[in-house]
Symmetry: C2
Amino acid sequence: MFFAVQFHFLLLKNIQIMKIIHTIKELRQWRQSVQSVAFVPTMGNLHAGHLALVQRAQSEAEHVVVSIFVNRLQFGQGEDFDRYPRTLEQDAAKLRDVGVAVLFAPDERELYPNVAQNYQVEPPHLQNELCGAFRPNHFRGVATVVCKLFNIVQADTACFGKKDYQQLAIIRGMVDDLNMPIKIVPVDTGRADDGLALSSRNQYLSATERAEAPRMFQQLQWLAEQVRGGNHDYVALEQAAAAELTAHGWQVDYVEIREAGSLNVARLGDKNLVVLAAARLGTTRLIDNLEFQAA
Amino acid sequence: MFFAVQFHFLLLKNIQIMKIIHTIKELRQWRQSVQSVAFVPTMGNLHAGHLALVQRAQSEAEHVVVSIFVNRLQFGQGEDFDRYPRTLEQDAAKLRDVGVAVLFAPDERELYPNVAQNYQVEPPHLQNELCGAFRPNHFRGVATVVCKLFNIVQADTACFGKKDYQQLAIIRGMVDDLNMPIKIVPVDTGRADDGLALSSRNQYLSATERAEAPRMFQQLQWLAEQVRGGNHDYVALEQAAAAELTAHGWQVDYVEIREAGSLNVARLGDKNLVVLAAARLGTTRLIDNLEFQAA
């Protein structure tokens, strides 16, 4: 009798049909019917990096909700909001295959019914540093939509990739500072065999650019190796890594060594460091980062 | 048997001991042990107006949480943060008498452990109008602390007085725009027999000022009566009401007729109106408002 019940339960779990939900109302109704939920917010066009987030989420809760929403608020003028790849059908198939409970795919009117988002989450000055210096209002848009999604999904846990390291820091800061009842789980960056960080924007790269792209991560590794080897001239190291990229046709936004927890500018004595970079190959902007320990 | 159980239940309810909780952690633990919660955020120094909020909250949920926190963020320089009356013991006694489940009374370090509140909720331009024009950053501070308290208490419902009409509008806007999972219940303003709106700040008034204070509400009633009688020269009416207060020794910040739902400036054709006023008697700033229908 006991085994029969167990077996039945497992069977039900395996044949769980993924729901695709488009409205906040329906999502809230579903939420009331389940206990623990882990959440993975995305902009779609899913790759192995996203699926690693889902896998991690599945280890955190009984049900996983993945959202797909290309958030206009976080794109600046002249950025790729319009051409950002929208591939809902293929994304849904991938999520169904890995056993996601709910794909939440609201349209713009559902999340921004007044067109303007009148109330926003305002992050501190970090929002204007690193990528924020090149993408005005980007992190305010990220924080605001994530706040909205957290309030809608009411998950116990949310998983974010370390690929977007500054985004992760801002989400963690927001959750902490606004006492949001959710646990944030960081997940390591997925990489191609040659080291290139997985990103939806990689598909914009020409074959030549794709061959060049792994140099960014190689430079981050080189820089971390230098610091671990005792070179503490952070400014010179940042400049050397940037110059190497520039020499190979990159337009570098920044290469910066920061304290990993706060993202403050790294100072001698800081142990936990991260080096972050952003640069363009042609019209495609790539970012990456690498955590490391000072010697 | 049935009656016995009923009786026992009622008895338990009546002798429910109010918990006084000072930490977020303990509040969250308690929250997990109960189902429905209604929430009344306050700055303490409780009067009959607050107790009406509590009573309304009790009709909304099984358990009522009242918070008492004098929120530094919403006080400007030169305002009465330091002299704001702190009367926790008397407040606790009042709340115990009316059967509140939890009094949540965190200290400043509990809500603002980093001293600075780095992530804030930024309301739209309404925050700089009406009272906001005279109290810079006030409504950002209100929205931010209410967001934090909502995330901590995780109530199903929260009750706010109409006395702070602009505050109510901003909380409702925030909840709506950020998709917060909570229902906001507005509660009518409690008044003394002579019409003066109940307020913790009334106790700052001298006997002479206290005798003068009801004139504000009388002017609001006069103005509403004029509009209902067909006078649609809103600007002249606002000026006349302000002049009457000024003539009796008030320093008037504003008297304004607004559309009740949006708090936009009232236009001909708007049906649901509210007239709001703020003025000082001596050093004490009083506010009041009155909803009414255009003729």
